[in-house]
Symmetry: C2
Subunit: 369 residues, 2 copies
């Protein structure tokens, strides 16, 4: 089957890597000539935001999917009209692309997400009390397009673009759950993962699984995933980012209609990975089992501050000596501060051991140039 | 790093698949334009038995390795002279390519292998008593070039080519152990796997791990792997095929200087796979941990008798519904009787459960056209 992917980054690369177990042809579209997928797929250099480019790329494929949501969804809608299967469909991509529509989707489907107000120029008055979070309607990505407004002083910095203003949640834990639905309507959910910050070392990017939650909290999450999967009306793999507040209530922060950083530990930690699951969704195959077979955690390898240029992974040989430790690099030749260059997955028999290992590994490596 | 592989078949494909976790460029050489590696590496169509072709292919690589042993070893020796790293080195490839040299290697290094006699035209008389196994000196592969001579009648069919005549072992179990050694001299051994035949169904191609052996037998195997790794004088990953005879004595049947079918269950069954280990050997990195984390088994998907042409994997959707079951196809478009088209790995909590699952899966699938 000819599978086209909009985007040729690491998510696409790891999807293709997993899917090499099967017999398909992968085609990728990305503006960067050295995108991580360029040498492991039939690669087209081009802009996935451009209507004509996406239409041209997709028209001879059996199915078109995405590994980034900021794509030209109108072109995907036209491809659907022309009979090309698009996973997830253009409608849900459009909904999730726009924070205002995304919030309305939660509201309409009775999915708990923080109280919000739409700022689209239709009213001069902001009713949302301080502090609140401003999320730009479009263009937000990887923390960009989001700011916290805490004081009247901060109000001067309010962006003027169409936005969602959202009540600030008093966060106890940041959780994530990856769900999948195929065209046949079959659904499957990954175990919840937790984004852990280490207070001593200010490490912000550990993602661990499984998470021990009270039955009451698990029920809230189950209810969210069930409502989401019932409402979404599209095949796809989705990452639902959750806040657990200090009163024990679970809120949806936002959803990504694609593979997600918070699911990377599934590569070695679960019976099947999010990449295997995505492949099955794209091909409308029976969904895979997702059991967490052990404690697993992931740390991102991001470009260190002050280094740009040809990447050097300092300390990697030492990491290779550690058992149950798995390095995943993304095939990017150039590093820059904050760029996601890879990740490391670690397995352990307990949460304590896992955290110790993650902290140990984090201290061993540095992405420099 | 530029890594060249002689051969572009499934072993190369799965090596490259695993190594997509790292940042390297893979180049493959294979006579078939649609070889499994052709669309996931920089591919050269050509004959790996041809001196000039191998020399030309290898001269600009940082390291050259093999995924099949029937390659032009003289060209590899010349590449070594020119400063290209070759893993495993040309000398051990030459030794293993020729059954006579291979048997002498075992003899010289006090590694137990069945009693033998060389048939190379230097003597007319065959002293080896019946029954015995005749193995052609060169050209044997996948069971070809090997025959059992049981009777005086069989003697008429004796091949005239240079051969080894080997005492027939009264086999209790067929075992395999994959060992690795890097350039730094570090060594690592995978848990032993067993080739299991199911007497009822005459299923010959299950490979299961771990195997419960007496301490005395494990000591014999440890002694063999230690002697082998000490004697081999080359970095490499090697599959040592063993016979356990009915008296409890372990013999080396033969060795492959490469990735091996008997190690495929390591993909999901071990802490790291043979492919990860091979990658580390090729790059002289610290070797990976190889623990068996659960019971695992593999069955080959081979082309059914009577079917040739564009492959159809009958029953595969049903297999995808099974938990802890992993399909690996090799990207070959055409099937023919007996052709290795893929394999399926299965995990289980006990040997009994594993065997049940393998028999169940085997009955579900058929490779037809």
């Amino acid at each position: 089957m000819k599978i086209g992917i909009l985007g040729g980054g690491q998510l696409g690369r790891m999807l293709i890597q997993e899917a090499l177990k099967y017999d398909d042809e992968f085609y990728t579209l990305d503006p960067a000539s050295d995108a991580p997928c360029h040498n492991i797929s039939y690669f087209t250099q081009g802009n996935f935001n451009d209507y004509d480019t996406v239409l041209e790329f997709g028209k001879d494929k059996d199915v078109v999917t995405i590994e980034i949501e900021h794509v030209n969804a109108d072109a995907l809608a036209e491809l659907e009209n022309q009979g090309v299967k698009v996973v997830p469909n253009s409608q849900i991509i459009k909904t999730i692309q726009q924070k205002i529509l995304q919030k309305k989707f939660y509201e309409e489907n009775n999915i708990p997400s923080p109280e919000f107000e739409i700022m689209d120029g239709s009213s001069d008055e902001i009713k949302m009390p301080l502090p609140f979070v401003q999320k730009m309607n479009t263009g937000g990505y990887d923390g960009k397009g989001v700011q916290v407004i805490r004081t009247n002083e901060d109000m001067k910095n309010l962006w003027t673009q169409d936005s969602v203003l959202e009540k600030l949640v008093d966060i106890d834990k940041e959780l994530s759950v990856i769900v999948a639905r195929n065209e046949n309507g079959e659904t499957q959910t990954f175990p919840v993962t937790e984004m852990v910050a280490d207070p001593k070392l200010n490490l912000l990017d550990f993602n661990v699984c499984p998470v021990h939650l009270t039955e009451e909290i698990e029920e809230q999450i189950d209810s969210i995933t069930e409502k989401f999967l019932a409402a979404v009306n599209s095949p796809g793999l989705f990452a639902i980012e959750l806040f657990l507040d200090k009163k024990g209530k679970v809120w949806v922060n936002e959803t990504a209609p694609r593979l997600h950083n918070s699911g990377h530990q599934s590569q070695e930690g679960n019976a099947n990975s999010q990449f295997e699951q995505m492949y099955r969704v794209v091909k409308n195959l029976p969904l895979a089992d997702t059991d967490a077979i052990i404690y697993s955690g992931m740390l991102n390898l991001v470009g260190a501050e002050g280094f740009s240029g040809k990447v050097i992974y300092e300390g990697m040989e030492e990491v290779l000596k550690l058992p149950e430790t798995y390095i995943h690099l993304y095939g990017k030749t150039e590093t820059k501060p904050g760029r996601k260059m890879g990740h490391i997955n670690v397995l352990a028999d307990s949460r304590e051991e896992l955290m110790e290992k993650l902290i140990q590994v984090k201290a061993m490596v540095r992405v420099i140039a």
